[in-house]
């Protein structure tokens, strides 16, 4: 089988349309919104603030906590039951690891920085969209940060390598999905997961595709943050 044309007509190295905003959740110390195709993520940052329960405090530096959640009506199929699932717990965990390398919490001993990611609408690539939104939110909150984290998936459908799989591609029976989070400057990888079967050469191609996409994502994140402080309109 060959995959000659993508289901939604995109070029193989073409991402879906991206939009982003900063500072949309007024009560939070920082917030971000990131939309890629029909996948939409909000992220809010609270902190540094006092950490409870106290036994989880770290006297050496602040703690980063990430909480990922899909709204009950966000999924293409049945209602997602509210509350944490094994899936959402794992994604929260890997998203925390994806963001941790860029933030510097050394000044915030015993305190916590909470990141909440909520998805009102999904069409694959939710953890990546969530990480992109969270990165905007952390920057907006004024957290010391060496770099932005940009995340997107690459993968394979049938014989073709491609970037930014949508739901149809992601759920294709002969498809491979590789979500990757990359630090914008160093291009170091802070999240990588995969399911499906892939050759090492194809993995190299996937990483290369993400590397290119990463610069575009950074540009969108940057403009979103700058726009928040532009009061001309």
């Amino acid at each position: 089988m060959t995959y000659d044309k993508r289901f939604d007509g995109r070029a193989f190295d073409e991402m879906r349309p991206i939009e982003a905003k900063a500072g949309i959740i007024k009560r939070a110390h920082g917030s971000g919104w990131f939309k890629i195709g029909n996948t939409e993520a909000y992220a809010a940052v609270y902190g540094p603030r006092e950490m409870f329960p106290r036994f989880m405090q770290n006297p050496e530096k602040g703690v980063l906590r990430v909480h990922y959640n899909m709204m009950p009506f966000s999924s293409a199929g049945e209602r997602v039951r509210p509350g944490p699932s094994r899936r959402s717990k794992e994604i929260s965990h890997v998203a925390q690891k994806a963001l941790l390398p860029v933030v510097d919490l050394s000044e915030f001993s015993n305190a916590v920085v909470d990141v909440f990611i909520e998805l009102p609408q999904t069409d694959a690539g939710t953890r990546c969209a969530g990480i992109c939104a969270a990165s905007i939110a952390l920057a907006d909150a004024g957290i010391p940060m060496k770099d932005m984290v940009c995340a997107i998936s690459a993968g394979r459908v049938e014989d073709k390598m491609l970037v930014d799989l949508n739901y149809e591609e992601d759920s294709h029976e002969n498809g491979v999905d590789i979500p990757i989070a990359m630090l914008h400057n160093s291009k170091k990888i802070s999240l990588i997961q995969m399911d499906g079967e892939l050759s090492s050469d194809d993995l190299k191609k996937a990483v290369e595709m993400v590397r290119n996409a990463c610069d575009r994502i950074f540009e969108v994140q940057k403009q979103a943050l700058k726009k928040k402080f532009d009061i001309s309109d």
């Binding site: 110390h29 920082g30 902190g47 540094p48 603030r49 006092e50 006297p59 602040g62 860029v102 510097d104 000044e107 915030f108 001993s109 015993n110 305190a111 916590v112 920057a139 907006d140 909150a141 004024g142 957290i143 010391p144 940060m145 060496k146 770099d147 932005m148 630090l183 914008h184 400057n185 950074f218 994140q221 940057k222 943050l225 700058k226 402080f229 532009d230 009061i231």
Partner: protein
């Protein structure tokens, strides 16, 4: 040859390249990576000669020794009060630092301050573990009665106060309100007329929003002129540093 990649007073984001080459020096909020200087937080670029630094635009207040802050009592302790500082760290006001009056052991401390009371205090110590001690001994430090509390981004406090208190003085004169600004972003406002009090609140929020824009003083003056009611006080000639502590 080194080159600046951004404009002076531009808003930059973490990881953004500010300068290339070795001719410039990274200062607060920036770091060197190879031959580049990058931003290590969101902020406003300030270029002073060869030095590049950032002025933060956001971020929760971090307690600093010497700061005068406005907080409220959250807990009555054995020998003092716990005060919320609008930061990740609460502080302790020990009774010996609260008053020169003698307080007997076991006395009812709520006679002095109760939970919910608003106080203007000074930070006398911050430990490496961010334990914070306060004092109320000093000019202007006291319990604040009445008035309303406004919480603003603590990074904008210097602009709200202005040079030698010029900005806050201007708001006071136009609105006839008493205004105290804590370094922690808590502002206390008290006026006779609700409309004037509201104008003071709106002005401070406008400064918070536009603090990083040039020509702030003129734009705020224009705003106050335009929104001042017909019965509002005539602003007197600017009178720097009068009355209240800032």
């Amino acid at each position: 040859m080194g080159e600046i990649q951004v404009k002076d007073k531009e808003v930059v984001v973490p990881g953004e390249t500010l300068a290339t080459g070795m001719d410039f020096l990274p200062s607060y909020g920036t770091y060197r990576e190879g031959d580049k200087i990058l931003a290590s937080r969101l902020g406003l670029v300030t270029i002073e000669g060869k030095v590049i630094k950032l002025v933060p635009l956001s971020g929760v207040y971090h307690p600093k020794r010497g700061d005068t802050i406005i907080g409220h009592v959250t807990e009555i302790l054995l020998s003092g009060w716990r005060i919320d500082t609008n930061s990740a760290y609460s502080a302790v006001l020990n009774m010996k630092d609260a008053t020169s009056e003698f307080i007997a052991r076991g006395a009812d401390l709520t006679k002095y301050f109760e939970i919910g009371d608003c106080v203007m205090v000074k930070i006398i110590n911050v430990t490496s573990q961010n334990l914070v001690d306060l004092t109320m001994k000093g000019p202007g430090l006291r319990k604040l009665r009445g008035g309303r509390i406004l919480s603003v981004n603590a990074n904008k406090v210097p602009r709200i106060i202005g040079k030698q208190g010029s900005m806050v003085s201007m708001i006071k004169q136009y609105t006839n309100c008493r205004i105290l600004v804590g370094q922690n972003g808590i502002v206390w406002i008290q006026g006779e007329d609700p409309a004037q009090e509201l104008l003071a609140v709106q002005t401070i929020k406008k400064i918070e929003r536009e603090a990083h824009i040039s020509g702030l003083t003129d734009s705020i003056k224009g705003f106050l002129e335009k929104n001042r009611g017909p019965n509002a006080p005539r602003p007197q000639a600017m009178n720097h540093g009068e009355g209240d502590a800032q």
